[in-house]
Symmetry: C2
Subunit: 375 residues, 2 copies
Amino acid sequence: MTGGVIGIVGGGQLGRMLTLAAKPLGFDVIVIDPVANSPAAQVGAEQIQADLYDASALSKLAEKADVITVEIEHLDAAALQNVAKIGTSVQPAPKTIQMIQDKLKQKQYFKNIDVPTAPFMEITDEASAGQALKQFGKMVIKTRRGGYDGRGNVVVNNTKQLNPALEQFAGQKLYAEKFVPFTKELAAVVARSLDGKIALYPIVETMHKRNICTEVRAPAAITPLAHKRAVALASKVAQNLEGAGVFAIEMFLADDNKVLLNEVAPRVHNSGHYTLDGSKTSQFEQHIRAITGLPLGSTEPTRESAVMVNILGERNGPTEIRGLKDALAIPEVSVHLYGKSPTKIDRKMGHITATGKDTQTARKRAQRARRRISV
Amino acid sequence: MTGGVIGIVGGGQLGRMLTLAAKPLGFDVIVIDPVANSPAAQVGAEQIQADLYDASALSKLAEKADVITVEIEHLDAAALQNVAKIGTSVQPAPKTIQMIQDKLKQKQYFKNIDVPTAPFMEITDEASAGQALKQFGKMVIKTRRGGYDGRGNVVVNNTKQLNPALEQFAGQKLYAEKFVPFTKELAAVVARSLDGKIALYPIVETMHKRNICTEVRAPAAITPLAHKRAVALASKVAQNLEGAGVFAIEMFLADDNKVLLNEVAPRVHNSGHYTLDGSKTSQFEQHIRAITGLPLGSTEPTRESAVMVNILGERNGPTEIRGLKDALAIPEVSVHLYGKSPTKIDRKMGHITATGKDTQTARKRAQRARRRISV
């Protein structure tokens, strides 16, 4: 088509849903993905089959695309920066991605602008790790880079647990964070347009199992004070990021309605999948609008409540999805499958969104639908 | 994916929007279309590049597909019937498509089950045409087959206009229909599931220029009596069609709240495009659900009013769409482009849907958005 070409680093489910949103707006899409017939390619994205860190693939993408964006933050940010220097628009800004992909730098950046976070410190050896443990008590050791779906996090309660934790991450740069006894995990998707306008989606509650997001409830059931603080935090973070696009801001809700920044993702995010069915503009269309200079769409909900449940693989083997018919028989239930094969235990194979007049209704529908599907 | 393979005869904008709906439900799509890189192929449908009347292409499609459907009724219904006999499910039933594609047979079929229509009769020569004119007064001569976007219709007011009309359609089978001085044109999309359940969308008003649909207003602004009659007519028609899928029922509203059947399309339809943004389930997802044995979705509107305006080509040449940014700056406006090139005068290049608290609001938004786009 003639609307221009969008390049995406990564062609998984996020690239797929971005492509599905981009096509009706007249854009062509090209993705880089190592696996042939990626989820994005299945819905009409051209695919450059290459590793996400392949700089020559990125150059090829830059030659063809009018704007490059990402569906994952674990990539070669320096190469992205080079591409941007040569003249292809990269959104969000490579330096934002670079800052975010190092979680320690991210934390420092936001702490410096007075965004509340849990206390943290860099650890480089046993001594500094011991120092952190002394200061924080219960703490979490995290890798500075590459953590995803909870890989790269380990809780340390005492000195006995310290060495095994350090050994587990041998060779990786680390930091420690005081364990926050949070009552809920919150998130908000926020979009920034090329001209700096900001559109915030509702604050949602995210649930995790085995460190993987399993459920998202929109809106979050929190006090007005916690809500106000979460909105203020998310808005402040959004205002201090460079470049256009959708960002996901993950937060902890602690005692006394305290809201702390957990981390930021410079991309569309699992916590925003519910927007496909529960919002006037999906996060995917919003991201496409943001990075191509189109005006941001409305972030208003279309229904009182929406609950998203991930369809995680339950076994290893060729994908075979059963129970779709029974799931769709439930009112206000939508199913979005990602076209992945094989299925693997805990692999994100799709998601379900249910809407309803309140969260309990939506949740029951989503959970019931999830139980009816096997994958 | 593993949900099965849907074959579609035709890969234009309807095939494209069907594909966009099918993919997230886990289906693969294959289309037959004569033009490479069809609108459907651009969103990930595999394409068999062949004429729609190519029987060998249809056989190839039948080998690969679990169910075959159509985005156009002008095709080889006998070949479809053969395919169905060999064992591939064809939805809707080929005999339904065959009946519908001959407009005279269609009229006769519905007249026989007491669906109100304008008076009509077959004409085979000058004498029978003269007879029809005598009986009907002002009348419309129509080709029995192949009429589309008003091609194949001519109004005849008097005997002087009779011969030129007949000459225009020389060699084609014809029928004549009494001219209905209608006050509005109405339409309704209706879905039938494999097990015969029926889901009716709201009655809408359709506007035409140069015999091409330009605007659809949902819901139609008609009296309760006219509404009741339109619903009864559409339901009766739907109950008397064979096979699963979405059908569009076009009607005339005449004096005294009389509602007459105009014609039926055995497929998703321009009059239902508004459902992408104005209904809980789009006609495209509904069709996919219907033909694959999934339960039908809700046909409830998501907003008081929705107005769809077609984006028709304004010139001949390579496609270049301008003004998208300005159009999307208007609240509650969605734009759906079809990926067609070149643009041609009156070619359907895309559509706009605007929603709002009433039809006037939605209409103003849609019209304003349309004026801002050039194609």
